[in-house]
Symmetry: C2
């Protein structure tokens, strides 16, 4: 019986959507990978895979974790259990596995589910990526924070009270995960008198990117959309 050195897991941030916003390290690791892994949602295409596509070799094995779209957590967690088990087997056979993640793996990323399952038994390296936060600021031409300004990132599903308190307490606000909460969040921003300071961005750096003042935003927002609120009038002068 031979002792095989275990492989290593790489959690790779791919950035917000434009493949050229991948890091040099992400591109190299994907190009060199013999095994990659990524989730798909309810049988759909993988956004992460589409960002990395040009760097994936035809010889690379792909572990696909199909995550069902349900409100209960159980079925999704079961999909990550199955995926983590297949990744663990590959690592035990001595191969590295490169996990593809939109944005940054540790910033609202589903990579955390794999990290929680694999980190105790295997070596894990996270390669940070450009987040949608600074990508949205870049495409909106909107400096986020300067000097001693405070920035808060708020998921839109929070309740009205929590959102209101946090909207008034920071200089810069980043509202994520708008989706079906968009109309409610817009009303809260309006009630706080912040609509004039708000920019709406959809699919930043993607081919179908949308950037508009919040007052001119469409009625419906997809999951990959964001509102940036910058209160500082000209704080960087």
């Amino acid at each position: 019986m031979t002792d095989v050195k275990h492989g290593k897991v790489y959690g790779i941030g791919l950035g917000p959507g434009d493949p050229e916003l991948m890091t040099l390290k992400a591109a190299r690791l994907i190009r060199e990978a013999s095994v990659i892994a990524y989730p798909t949602l309810a049988g759909g295409a993988s956004f992460a895979r589409s960002i990395a596509a040009d760097f994936i070799s035809p010889d690379t094995r792909e572990i696909v974790m199909d995550v069902p779209m349900t409100i209960e957590r159980g079925p999704a967690q079961a999909a990550y259990d199955v995926g983590a088990a297949e990744i663990a087997q590959t690592l035990e056979a001595g191969q590295d596995v490169v996990v593809l993640c939109e944005g940054d793996p540790f910033f609202y990323g589903s990579f955390m589910y794999l990290f929680a399952r694999l980190n105790a038994a295997f070596e894990v390296e996270v390669v940070p990526g450009v987040t949608s936060v600074t990508a949205c600021a870049a495409v909106a031409g909107l400096p986020l924070v300067a000097r001693n300004e405070v920035m808060t990132v708020l998921p839109a599903p929070l309740d009205d009270g929590a959102l209101h308190d946090k909207l008034v307490a920071s200089d810069t606000l980043v509202l994520m995960k708008l989706g079906r909460h968009f109309a409610r969040v817009r009303a809260l921003i309006d009630a706080a008198g912040l609509t004039e300071n708000s920019v709406y961005i959809e699919r930043a750096t993607g081919v179908d990117e949308v950037v508009k003042p919040l007052k001119d935003a469409p009625e419906k927002a997809p999951y990959f959309s964001m509102i940036l609120i910058v209160k500082g009038a000209d704080p960087w002068l």
Copy 2:
């Protein structure tokens, strides 16, 4: 008299320090640049230039803005006035200028000073970069936020009251710009009962990187250091 098409300004995020964490786009634009620009602090070496060094051609012209280290804002702003004027001249002559920025240009970056001076008259494109926030999380092996968790970025120079209120109000805290405020911020974190949840990181992804639980951190912190506080016990399962 010929009408020359004006050049374009690129504000390029170079990421946290490891040159391999530059984006493909940043690397390409620097390699192709005929003119680059960057600030130095009081005659010191430029951290931004050192990240990009391998991609800068010997034929590239370099506009260096030497920013004096003073408490008053005037002298630093005068240095950006001079730099912006030299960049503007270059743009008017039809050449593009690539401005090098550590991290991300719009996230506490000095690029904002140039953006404010050039944005009205010239085309500006910002290329987002990996911030020190997700780089620190990656090297600490610490998922930042999941699901509906709230993250707040706090500059350490804020006063005690503001820091305390914000320390208790978010799930994840990122304390930046520690420097001479380190001892005071540490005491505030301790008083809030959060030391056990805190990790100290110095020069993330650099060759002299330091990662320690806050309780074991050195007494003095340089400017490029950070404290991450993640309260969620195991929120990503």
